[in-house]
């Protein structure tokens, strides 16, 4: 009994937190799920019933396979467990099949794979310096970070209500970040390479990894003033990193290269025909651009400067995923978005190269890459904001300035996820969970840093970029076209 007491009471707050959030996830099983549920069921069916050569060609359902091969193998592994729950879900022709056993299996698979995320959070906590913290457990940075990550509102509603497998993917990313903090660069690189072949949206943050590894790992030493020492370049390290990336890619794309299917795979992975904005606009720069274009066209019509016959009929807000053209402002091409993104990430990448500040600098660059790609990318989905929010949590428990930025980012980012759950029963759930997370994050960080107000944003170059989010996202909340039915066009250029 005493042993049980020690196990329960003692230092196992982390297990209690992880168990608590797992129980909450179990309670979310009967909630609304989006078409992503059918997407994953379809992929289970495709990978289970068809040979590998058919995976990227199969198109019975509209939800074709558009994630890299590792994810397909992951679904294949899951399908072998699925057959014990309900064999019928593995039939490719059973479109929209969702028996209670199917639901149970899919939900449990997400909850189960979150174990990797829990492990990654545990590793991240080890990288946190808690020397200046108070004595009480709930005021320690490790505790706060664990809650901010494990109980993250965005991840909970996207994974366990809307239905996706982001948990273990973010686990891989956080684990690779933790490994870089722990100076285990090869493992970090390996994990990131693997992650890219699970979901290629993480290409958003690849520049940060590339530049950091090249600058801080391949160049083994710096000059006393911190600038680059060219003769400390280590060929061994470069080659080993290259080898890791090459081997992982070979493992992933190799079979499809052998089958001569590489162009088909790439066209599935990067469907650029899908239009500048997703059906639900992500609160990014192009949303403002579209809105401005619309306003200008209305003004133009009123003032008789534009000819009504020349205006394209397709509406941007009809909820259909298609290409369209702007009426007043120049139309935007994928190349234009790429150039804008590159320009946006240039300052942080330059900083990372010329003035490396160790793993923390890398983390800042990663967050900025994610945010820049979110703001200027082609066909970005709302959920991509999580790519910035989750790593930012790691920084938030370090400095007061970062905490303020984190609170703004996370609150607006999470609020922007609200339209994902538009059904009535989910309204109290999302409001309560949002209030819970926001109250906790504000009060715990406030206690940790005793910051009187949130308006003290640091005047660093990195900080200024982040402030861009605020004016972009706030007007967005007001003018969102929302329909009550599920809209087609789930996928994005970098599928979310």
């Amino acid at each position: 009994m005493a042993a049980l007491g020690i196990a329960m009471g003692g230092g196992n707050w982390f297990s209690a937190l992880a168990l608590g959030v797992t129980l909450l996830k179990c309670l979310l099983i009967p909630t609304y799920h989006s078409t992503d549920f059918e997407v994953h069921r379809n992929w289970l069916a495709i990978t289970h019933s068809l040979p590998v050569s058919q995976w990227y060609y199969e198109a019975t359902s509209e939800w074709t396979l558009d994630y890299p091969p590792f994810f397909a193998w992951f679904e294949y592994a899951l399908s072998h467990v699925a057959k014990y729950f309900d064999q019928e879900m593995l039939n490719v022709r059973n479109l929209n099949y969702s028996s209670s056993r199917t639901l149970l299996f899919q939900r449990f698979s997400v909850i189960f794979t979150d174990a990797l995320f829990v492990y990654a959070v545990h590793e991240c906590c080890k990288c946190i310096d808690g020397k200046k913290a108070g004595k009480e457990l709930t005021e320690k940075p490790k505790f706060i970070l664990s809650v901010l990550l494990l109980w993250n509102f965005g991840l909970l509603i996207v994974d366990h209500i809307h239905f996706q497998y982001n948990g273990f993917l973010f686990g891989l990313m956080l684990l690779s970040i933790a490994r870089l903090f722990q100076k285990r660069h090869m493992e970090g690189a390996f994990l990131f390479a693997v992650l890219l072949h699970f979901k290629h949206i993480y290409l958003y943050v690849a520049p940060a990894y590339g530049v950091y590894l090249l600058r801080s790992y391949c160049f083994t030493a710096n000059k006393p003033d911190g600038s680059i020492r060219w003769n400390s370049f280590s060929f061994v390290r470069v080659i080993s990193l290259g080898l890791i990336v090459f081997l992982v890619s070979a493992l992933s794309l190799g079979p499809f290269l052998a089958l001569n299917q590489l162009p088909q795979v790439l066209s599935r992975l990067f469907p650029f025909k899908r239009g500048l904005c997703h059906a639900y606009w992500a609160p990014n720069f192009w949303a403002l651009y579209n809105a401005l274009d619309k306003v200008l066209s209305i003004i133009g019509l009123e003032l008789k400067l534009l000819d009504p016959n020349k205006i394209p009929k397709a509406s941007m807000t009809s909820g259909l995923v298609q290409q369209f053209q702007h009426t007043v402002l120049p139309s935007v091409t994928p190349l234009a978005t790429l150039i804008c993104t590159l320009i946006a990430i240039l300052p942080s990448v330059f900083c990372l190269w010329f003035k490396p500040q160790g793993p923390r600098g890398f983390l800042r660059c990663l967050i900025l890459c994610a945010l820049s790609s979110f703001l200027f990318g082609w066909h970005v989905h709302e959920k991509a904001i999580l790519l910035a929010v989750l790593p930012m949590s790691l920084l938030s428990v370090g400095k007061a300035g970062d905490a303020s930025i984190f609170l703004i980012l996370t609150t607006t980012g999470h609020y922007s996820l609200f339209p994902l759950l538009f059904t009535a029963p989910e309204l109290p759930t999302k409001i309560l969970l949002m209030l819970l997370f926001t109250t906790y994050s504000i009060s715990s960080l406030k206690t940790l840093f005793s910051v009187p107000s949130f308006k003290k944003i640091k005047e660093k170059k990195d900080g200024r970029d982040l402030v861009l989010l605020l004016p972009v996202s706030l007007p967005k909340q007001g003018g969102r076209a929302r329909t009550s039915r599920e809209l087609p066009g789930r996928c994005t250029a970098f599928p979310a």
């Binding site: 005493a2 007491g5 329960m8 129980l23 109250t439």
Partner: protein, 502 residues
């Protein structure tokens, strides 16, 4: 972190768990012709909205009492009327006379669930929060943890109707313990007028307040207090029963609906002495009807008399709360026409003593949830049951370190053991015995749950598993009855001299 931030977070967790559990199926879903409690609540809205007050409790062509007739006191009816007005505003089909029977839709379910959540938010949750804040001699963290555990108690989350009566009763306890006697008794009268089962709690309230009057001296202040209390009680009853006081027949009919004495000692399976006894000896068939009532009356009062007498002679807040537990438990075990859900009337006072005897309270609350297993399985609430029970257990175990608090002193059994050791010097194994009993109990409950869920009962004994659950729970409850009575009777002098709350 500041106390109010922590409390807000705890309340939000409680609300989130309640709402997500309510997304599951409700009692009687899709089961015509009678459906279940959910349909009863909807039917009462229909009746109270469409019929005049005089007809609410009477059988008529418009109001078939066999189909979920009103059998709760007037306040429930008024509350249903209020909900009906809101329902009329949203969708009149929900409460249309006759045609809305068995109405089931997603929107309606959302409406019913929302009314329950709002009721909890307005009455029950503030009472819990205020109660935990008023606890003395424990740290802020422990107060918040206490609130979390009470809000996570599975029984109240899984049973899907509003708990107005428990909320009012809790306000009553709070008022009376803080020396706001008039407000406390008013709240408690409202609770009784909401559900007549609150009468289980009435004796401790009566004895405690009477004891306070005696203590203040019957010649002076005590007498004044007594008069004031009597007036408050009478006034609140008259206010609630006003429409029914005009005719004698009205009052009698309402009383007949509230106390169906012709229905027999028990119905269905309940974890009560009579039901368990009838496994061995069919009392219901052997003894005549009025004799059954007399026997249950005698046993109930005999079992609760010692505690009540002690409370009258030595009124203390701590004694009051423990007497609430033991009285409610006595009523549950020995009274007639007890429903499984009445265990919640015992669970609420046990939640109040959670901070004083965490180990035994947690044990009791787990058993009380387990005793409702057949009911919950019928409503298809297995997953929420397992999840909330584990969550509750983890919350209690980590907040109170219950496994380290099993010494005699922690269990409040020190004075008892000392008295016993005067006669039996070797009686030192009490805490060890209790720990082993706990282990056996948990294993039995888990096994029984697994068996009930996975296996089918044998053909000849279709109710085997429910009966087993009831029997095991009943044994536990008897043990707890003895335990709580021991605490009350052996409550030492130092306990008696403590200040108001705790």
């Amino acid at each position: 972190m500041e106390k109010w931030h922590l409390m807000t977070i705890v309340v939000l967790i409680g609300l989130t768990v309640r709402w997500t559990v309510s997304l599951n199926s409700y009692s009687g879903a899709g089961k015509p012709p009678m459906f279940g409690d959910y349909e009863a609540q909807r039917h009462w809205q229909e009746i109270t909205f469409n019929l005049p007050i005089k007809q609410w409790y009477f059988n008529s062509s418009d109001n078939n009492l066999q189909y979920w007739g009103l059998d709760y006191p007037p306040l429930t009816a008024y509350h249903s009327l209020l909900c009906a007005y809101v329902a009329k505003f949203i969708n009149p089909d929900w409460i249309a006379l006759h045609t809305s029977r068995g109405y089931e839709s997603q929107a309606h379910k959302l409406f019913m669930r929302t009314t329950v959540l709002i009721a909890d938010l307005l009455i029950y949750i503030p009472a819990v929060v205020l109660y935990c804040c008023c606890l003395k001699e424990i740290s802020t963290k422990k107060k918040v943890a206490n609130a979390l555990c009470i809000l996570l108690y599975p029984g109240l989350i899984l049973i899907d109707y509003g708990h107005f009566h428990l909320g009012f009763a809790l306000w009553g306890v709070l008022g009376v313990s803080c020396d706001w006697d008039l407000l406390g008794s008013l709240a408690f009268c409202l609770a009784i007028n909401y559900k007549q089962m609150e009468l289980y709690h009435s004796l401790p309230f009566f004895c405690f307040l009477l004891g306070k009057c005696f203590k203040k001296g019957l010649k002076g202040k005590g007498f004044v207090l007594l008069i004031k209390l009597a007036c408050t009680v009478v006034a609140s009853f008259i206010l609630c029963w006003l429409p029914f006081c005009t005719e004698r027949e009205q009052t009698l009919q309402v009383l007949r609906r509230l106390f169906p004495v012709d229905r027999g000692l028990f119905e269905d399976k309940v974890a009560n002495i009579w039901c368990s006894f009838s496994i061995f000896l069919k009392i219901k068939e052997i003894l005549p009807h009025h004799f059954q009532i007399i026997i249950s009356f005698c046993f109930t009062f005999l079992s609760l008399l010692p505690a009540c007498v002690k409370l009258t002679l030595q009124p203390s807040s701590k004694g009051f709360r423990f007497t609430l537990v033991s009285c409610a438990l006595s009523f549950f075990l020995f009274s007639f026409q007890v429903h499984e859900k009445s265990i919640l009337l015992v669970s609420l006072p046990v939640c109040l003593v959670l901070s004083e005897i965490p180990f035994m309270s947690t044990w009791f609350l787990l058993v009380s949830t387990f005793s409702m297993l057949p009911l919950l399985l019928k409503d298809e609430l297995l997953m929420p049951l397992v999840v909330t029970t584990i969550a509750f257990f983890i919350a209690c175990a980590t907040s109170f370190s219950i496994f380290e608090k099993t010494s005699e002193e922690e269990l409040q059994l020190k004075s008892f053991s000392l008295s016993v050791r005067k006669y039996l010097p070797c009686f030192t194994f009490l805490s060890r015995i209790i720990q082993y009993l706990f282990l056996i109990s948990v294993i039995t409950m888990v096994l029984l749950t697994l068996i009930t869920v996975t296996l089918d009962p044998p053909q000849k004994l279709p109710d085997l598993f429910s009966v087993l659950v009831c029997f095991v729970s009943c044994l536990h409850f008897l043990f707890f009855l003895v335990y709580f009575n021991i605490i009350i009777m052996w409550d030492s002098k130092s306990g008696r001299n403590q200040k108001k709350i705790n």
